[in-house]
Symmetry: C2
Subunit: 225 residues, 2 copies
DNA sequence: AGTAAAACATGACAAATATCATATTTAAAA
DNA sequence: TTTTAAATATGATATTTGTCATGTTTTACT
């Protein structure tokens, strides 16, 4: 089992604030696992009781609406922690986490890390900072959902995917996102998402090849209304 | 100047985790102030550099969208802390705070409380809990905005206002919320908010008298689609 | 009280989005 | 490979929501 000390993840997330000793202890009890694309890591309502470190891959966090539709609330990517809120209080997961591609993750039980949260102010501060950033981001998402058109939101998702995951050798978005994922992310019907992607294609902002998408004019996309 | 120790606010928010000594020090540097309905406490982009305790009254936190509309993101009420995120990191306010009615608030400078955050794990934990709850709430708001109809969202706001502020002697909602506020809270045009309130009136869920609103059938409202 | 301004209300119409139907293409499985 | 299922695409139409116009009521101010 690899040590957290050597793991690249350490450089990205709140674990970097832990001391060598703390990291060694965490290392010794963590569970490393591989998750295949489409598999569920945890579901809304379950108790999570620990945090996951994303070593590679990405997942979507979503919630089932009362109308039966899935709403993607955010994406969690390599270097992020997943399930931080399970460390605080004892409530069950509010969201469902499903892998967008093959992932490698480490699970650290709450019991092993909860003391660090109480005793290491750097660690709790780092979690605080992360949550403050998440809240700021949520505010912005709420405003976008409430005030912007579906076309505008789809354009923003394209830009976000481009910035977050980059492109492959041929210039296609490096993450595979189905039309349904687009719809569930911006809160619209799948057909509407498809229609708008077709429209963006006709307008020359993107090109597609199968389900692969290439952004051709990112500045234009930013100005889409 | 009144002491935090004796203030009722102490019982509601994160300040309750401070020791007697810490509270005394905070007390000695806080600034108490009265804010009139409609006045701005701070604006998006400003640096806040401290937290406000809401002793009485309530305010709305909103953000200006790129389309020029105001989006209300959340309400902050008596017993809540306002501007907690200013304690973490050093970023400027993401939201604008405007009083919904006359308020009495206390301002505690960041410099006086930042040490407690680092040294008193109970205090930082209390802030963490609050932020975790806020995040959970934001998730739910995002889902509602993305998936529910305007009518449904207006109905939910009515229920929320009822639960949060209660009613006056005659049964009217104890908070005055303009039609524009309703619109800005659910992300719709003012005319649409007006229309839907009229509709809810016709359907017998609410009655109005001037801008006062009385909920007549809360169970019915919960079932509105 | 009288006047102006703001808030509320409602009709008519336009635009955005959802829904249903039905192809077509792509991916998965036998 | 062949077959089947899933994802993508697009038209037709219904529904929801926004916009503009205009009138009424309420509130604020002198």
């Amino acid at each position: 089992m690899s040590k957290c000390e050597q793991c690249i993840i350490k450089q990205f997330n709140a674990l970097k604030t832990l001391s060598k000793e703390e990291l060694l202890r965490v290392s010794s009890c963590k569970t490393s696992m591989f998750i295949k694309k489409g598999e569920t890591i945890f579901e809304e309502g379950e108790s999570v009781n620990g945090v996951y470190c994303i070593k590679s891959g990405a997942c979507k966090l979503s919630k089932l609406s009362s109308n039966g539709r899935e709403q993607i609330v955010k994406l969690v990517v390599k270097g992020d922690l997943l399930g931080q809120r399970s460390l605080i209080g004892s409530e069950s997961a509010n969201l469902t986490a499903v892998a967008l591609n093959d992932m490698e993750i480490c699970f650290i039980p709450k019991s092993e890390i909860i003391n660090d949260l109480a005793k290491n102010p750097n660690f709790s501060n780092s979690i605080l900072e992360q949550m403050a950033a998440d809240l700021r981001n949520s505010d912005n998402v709420i405003v976008n959902m409430a005030q912007k058109s579906v076309k505008n939101r789809i354009a923003e998702v394209l830009i976000y995917l481009h910035e977050t995951f980059g492109v492959d050798e041929e210039g296609f978005l490096a993450i595979q996102f189905s039309r349904e994922d687009f719809a569930n992310f911006v809160g619209t019907a799948t057909e509407s998402a498809i229609r708008i992607l077709s429209q963006l294609k006709k307008e020359g902002y993107i090109t597609t090849q199968g389900k692969l998408i290439k952004i051709e004019n990112i500045e234009g996309l930013k100005r889409v209304e």
